[in-house]
């Protein structure tokens, strides 16, 4: 077992189309905010971990070299970590490893994306092997819609019923985004709007899908000793879990999805959580697609197999419910991919330190943060607590 580690500062940029700043300037904005929040100086950072999507997204390879100045990375170790959609979570976990290992006391983790600068879906298509799977891809929506179809079919969920639940998830996230100052999409929508919106990859409609955003997020970790020394409010890392499937999409079951189930079990085991619905107060579930949020409720043990729609229907996963999910408005409203997983971590940290502002879940003590990457390949989770 490693040392206790806490998050002492977070910094998020406003997300959306950020043509007003260059790539490093966007990062500088997030890092500056995190340093301010942590009450430390750039010189206090001992090591840096950063990540983004595959570099063709922005057309700058080995981009952490270009980012170095904005990362305070001079004269200290600087690693790039990249696992596609779960990059932000991998960056978060790699930053945690640095401190829990005992090698570093203060570490900066940074995730970023500038999706308006390139072709996101075209870039993501090249994540698949060139011989067998790439010709059949249809960006992220193709993969997630296939997973959703398999899920509906497996448990014989009436299509109208799951369609309605997914629409309610969209309405809830879009409504919550208004309370998050960093969120990208802020529009008032109704269930009717979702059901009438354009189909992009049946059964997925445009209002079931996240946007492409520009944005950055920074998180600063400290060892227990440094937390005491600095006397800052801290969000403690209580559990981490990460797991992946084979690269071949057809090799594994994406409904009883082991990558997600195993990663959650590991994070819960480490945090000593037995009944997540009871013991967690808020969950920042990675939800780029409404239907996928439903599947995660099951993989993470919030409910039994095929029963996720009930959590929506019974208002359990909304603010005021037993386990509010993605009160930030989620990935569904803000998705600078390399930063997205780290935003989940930052949001979880804000919740347990009661710094979430208008979307604070009152009295939140234990929060879950999650991200997914690849062609439904990777899942990572973190349990973050008010207490160690």
């Amino acid at each position: 077992m490693g040392r206790l580690v806490a998050i002492i500062g977070t910094g998020q940029t406003r997300c959306g189309r950020r043509d007003d700043v260059s790539y490093p300037e966007l990062i500088y904005e997030a890092v500056k905010a995190a340093l301010r929040d942590a009450g430390i100086e750039p010189g206090d950072i001992e090591a840096v971990v950063s990540g983004s999507m595959p570099p063709p997204m922005e057309g700058v390879n080995a981009p952490h070299l270009y980012w170095a100045d904005a990362l305070c990375a001079h004269h200290r170790p600087s690693l790039r970590v990249a696992t596609c959609g779960s990059t932000g979570m991998s960056v978060a976990q790699a930053g945690y490893y640095h401190v829990t290992s005992g090698l570093f006391d203060i570490v900066l983790a940074l995730g970023v994306e500038k999706m308006y600068e390139g072709e996101p879906q075209g870039t993501m298509t090249t994540v698949a092997d060139p011989f067998f799977q790439r010709p059949f891809l249809a960006g992220a929506p193709g993969i997630f819609s296939m997973q959703c179809n398999a899920y509906i079919h497996r448990y014989h969920i009436p299509e109208d019923r799951i369609r309605q639940a997914a629409a309610l998830i969209s309405v809830r996230n879009h409504s919550d985004a208004f309370d998050n100052p960093y969120a990208h999409i802020k529009i008032k929508i109704t269930v009717e709007d979702v059901l009438k919106s354009r189909i992009i990859a049946y059964p997925t409609r445009i209002l079931d899908v996240c946007p492409a955003s520009d944005g950055a997020c920074a998180v600063i970790y400290a060892s227990e000793e440094k937390v005491r020394q600095l006397g800052r409010k801290a969000a403690w890392i209580r559990g981490v879990g990460y797991a992946g499937d084979e690269h071949w999409f057809g090799d594994s079951d994406k409904v009883e999805w082991q990558a997600a189930i195993v990663a959650a079990k590991e994070a819960y085991r480490m945090a000593g959580i037995q009944d997540p619905l009871k013991e967690l107060d808020v969950a920042e579930v990675y939800n780029p697609f409404t239907f996928q949020e439903l599947l995660y409720y099951e993989c993470f043990g919030f409910c039994g197999k095929g029963r996720a729609v009930e959590l929506v229907e019974k208002k359990i996963v909304e603010r005021g419910g037993k386990l509010p999910c993605s009160p930030s408005g989620g990935v569904l409203c803000t998705n600078p991919i390399g930063a997205t997983g780290l935003q989940r971590v930052a949001e979880a940290a804000l919740q347990v330190t009661e710094k979430a502002g208008a979307h604070q879940i009152p009295g939140a003590r234990n929060a879950l943060a999650h991200a997914m990457g690849g062609m439904d390949q990777l899942n990572g989770l973190m349990i973050i607590g008010k207490n160690p």
Binding site: D20, L137, M146, N149, A150, I199, A201, D251
Partner: protein, 155 residues
Amino acid sequence: MSQPEYRVMEGVISLPYRWALGPVNTRFFEEFREKRIFGTRCPKCSRVLVPARKFCPQCFVDTSEWVQVKDEGTVRTWAFISYAYVAQPKDPPYITAVIDLDGADVGLSHYIGGVDFSDLEKIRARVKIGMRVRAVWKEKREGKITDIEYFAPVE
């Protein structure tokens, strides 16, 4: 208050690649060109992996036997793609799918075709998970996974 406009600079990066197939993929595609689909069997878990693999990703041992599977199977899942993006592998509309070929223990990614794409309701009525499909091979084959044009519903 209107925001000031800043410049953006446009550019293109275009790079050629040459991807080595290795012996297993090379043989797989030689057979494929002759309208035969081969998998390889794992000696430890006995699964037939399609396309053929050098090693089993679960047991991490070399596969031991080449096994021909049918060019016919069952639809595991599918999605109807009706949106377009830059550098898309195929012009929409199309159906991307996972097909469990008879004799294989894992699913194959491919297209479903031979279906009227003009109306979603017609597609929904025609294309189902569990539906039987058969490969429609191209006349002119070049040893690529797209030598099968698509899998069509079996009447």
